[in-house]
């Protein structure tokens, strides 16, 4: 029996120390993945909490057909995407409210995201990449994030996204091609300014 199986069994029996060990083992994985998707530290922390609450409450539904980490990745991605949708909905509602004279939340321009794990000399370019990443369709963004930020192989990404290896390769190809196009527009702006 491997470590994750032991943890799942302990959790299913309602063992608190098992849950503590699980959080300890997977917290950075969950936080980093959520951070890569939502690109906001507070939101990522909030999502990480939601993910572990969900894991605790639905561990009995985990049948062990996939790896525990794969299951947790799936929950994290779902929660992160839901969080983004909610945020967008809230923003739209705020805008409509402001049209009708209501007091909308103060609109702040998006802050350039800096991933804390990026090497110092690459921070500026990484910020451009993360900005471009936001413009990709969800599936391409998830595949790219899991590969670049979590170092997952295409096979592992296929398992997490519940799709074929071929589909992941195709997603990665399209993600890179789209990113190049978006980055091209950023670069021509920057270079013409210089």
């Amino acid at each position: 029996m491997n470590q994750s199986e032991v943890l799942v069994n302990q959790l299913k029996q309602g063992n608190q120390s098992g849950f503590t060990a699980l959080v300890d083992l997977y917290q950075d994985m969950v936080y980093n993945t959520a951070l890569g998707i939502v690109q906001n530290k507070e939101d990522a922390d909030d999502i990480a909490q939601e993910v572990f609450v969900q894991v605790y409450l639905s561990v009995n539904n985990f049948k062990g057909e996939s790896k525990l980490s794969t299951w947790i990745y799936r929950i994290t991605i779902t929660k992160a995407l839901d969080h983004e949708k909610k945020k967008k909905r809230k923003k739209r509602f705020g805008f409509i409210q402001s049209l009708f004279g209501g007091e909308a939340e103060e609109h702040r321009p998006p802050v350039e995201f800096e991933h804390p794990g990026v090497q110092l000399e690459k921070k500026e370019r990484a910020a451009e990449l993360f900005k471009a990443l936001k413009k990709l369709p969800d599936k391409q963004r998830i595949a790219f994030t899991l590969h670049k930020l979590e170092g997952q192989s295409n096979q592992e990404i296929a398992e997490i996204m519940n799709t074929s290896l071929y589909a992941v390769e195709s997603l990665m190809g399209r993600a890179k091609s789209n990113l190049k196009k978006i980055l091209y527009s950023y670069s021509s702006e920057k270079i013409s300014v210089q």
Partner: protein, 114 residues
């Protein structure tokens, strides 16, 4: 370096900027915050129901429904009362000419002695 080379360089640098990236570390005391959330989610069904009911949209919809049901019942009762009022004289005429309404055989046979 011409403009095209600069652009290519910019794109290549951006795409490789996450090479060697380190995992972001979760904020301290995450477990404490998770446990607090878990305790919150263990509210009873009645607590959850009350939270649901007091939401403005739900409360307003419920109140509107209640008022609508009341108005419907009042209108229905009014039309019913009007219907009964118009029907009554006709029913009285029928009763006047009906032999069953005048008396029954029992009444004839058990007439009180005068």
């Amino acid at each position: 370096m011409n403009k095209k080379d600069k652009i290519d360089d910019f794109i290549a640098q951006a795409l490789t900027s996450t090479d060697g990236i380190e995992r972001a570390v979760a904020k301290p005391f995450l477990l404490t915050r998770i446990n607090a959330r878990l305790n919150q989610s263990k509210e009873t069904i009645w607590e959850k129901a009350s939270w649901f009911i007091v939401r403005p949209s739900i409360a307003f919809s419920g109140l509107t429904m209640l008022i609508l049901i009341n108005i419907t019942v009042i209108l229905f009762n009014q039309s019913e009362a009007a219907h009964v009022a118009t029907e009554q004289p006709a029913q009285e005429n029928i009763d006047d000419f009906s032999y069953t309404a005048v008396s029954t055989i029992y009444d004839f046979e058990n007439a009180e002695p005068q």
